[in-house]
Symmetry: C2
Subunit: 236 residues, 2 copies
Amino acid sequence: MTFEEFKKRVMVTVEDLSRDFYRENRALFKVKKEDVAVKNLTSIVATTLNLSFKKGFDAMSLRDLSRESGLSMGALYSYFTSKEDLLGMIQSQGQVAVEKILREHIDTRNDPASKLRTAIRVHLYLSELMKSWFYFFFMETKNLNQKYRRKSITSELMTERFITDILKEGVKLKVFAVDNIQLTGSVIKAMMQDWYLKQWKYAQRNISVEEYAQFVIDVIESFVIDMTHRKTRLSP
Amino acid sequence: MTFEEFKKRVMVTVEDLSRDFYRENRALFKVKKEDVAVKNLTSIVATTLNLSFKKGFDAMSLRDLSRESGLSMGALYSYFTSKEDLLGMIQSQGQVAVEKILREHIDTRNDPASKLRTAIRVHLYLSELMKSWFYFFFMETKNLNQKYRRKSITSELMTERFITDILKEGVKLKVFAVDNIQLTGSVIKAMMQDWYLKQWKYAQRNISVEEYAQFVIDVIESFVIDMTHRKTRLSP
DNA sequence: GTCTATACACAGATAGAC
DNA sequence: GTCTATCTGTGTATAGAC
């Protein structure tokens, strides 16, 4: 699957996510007209992601947000109850979407090697589509209150789990030879994360997400594919 | 080389670095008595690294810093001229030290494969010794003024360079088979970075830095070692 | 060299008119 | 639902006594 195909299939603009979030949390919002609420919420979230990327969430004042989102200070507070609440909302909104999309794209039909390739590819494609969200999750949700920090850690481990489950299956079927599944999962995660943490580097070098995905897959396959077994199966 | 050996050899406490920095930048400081200055500077830097790790540099107020470092607000300003200046000083102080130590540990005598192993190991050991500094560089120097941001990017690329130079040599000598040296360098960097960005994870899982280093080396060697060539050399 | 006290700006948050 | 005006706390930074 190419990135363009993936992009057409999933469609995750900030507006899409905001609409979903609004519908599932109507009770939380003072503003009751859906079209108004979604429009403003979209602007708030998009602007926050944007400013947080440029200077960090802490350094973004609500006056900055007011100016750039086009809403007054007073109006902002119709959509959240505190600045920290805004952060929590974005993290929640984003991670729900990410988890949903990842689950939808789990490869269930194929062999472990294909599954692993798909998993790496989908994770990377999604992180490309939702760059600003992923960056936000990583940079801003560390220093939060316990509840939100938990969520963030859970999410990190869940992603790792997607990968290690495939590795386990592959080892069982003897197509992978991996001693330390957990560490293997960790470094795969690390490589995938680099894609959005070092956006500037890859952009500057004109490396596409497809190219990067293929490269990560090559590195990992050279490490996990059970060559011994291959030879064994081919020789007799 | 084990981590313990490395640790004994390099000795980089905050005090060591602060003393070096003070001696090389005497002119910048109002406080002229070395022992007083170094003592206080050490406390300021250590506390800043500490609080930045816990809640972020932005979220750390100078009142926090004053309380925890044991110096009054007024006294703090004998050691820097603004909060941003403090950040810049720590970044500068740290990166000078890192670069110096890395250069001292470049392996010049051996073959590329050994050099690569040494490079990975030394980088990881150093990042373990200077965890809070490395974390600080990554998290806090993104949103700075151009001058400091430049420095930070230069440093990232320099580290990558250490690695890719070795890879290049290995390819030339036909001990490595690597198509894309730059990307290989990137993912090695990514794996090394994960060690200090996800400290909580590795600590929780009781993984030592030696174990982690060996693992990264294994992953990379399985990818870069030229098996074809090995066979060719062994067969005739 | 270090302290306490204070200046001043700006942050987050809210009240109340429209 | 949204705006402007305003409250109150806290932030960085400095002045001046010791």
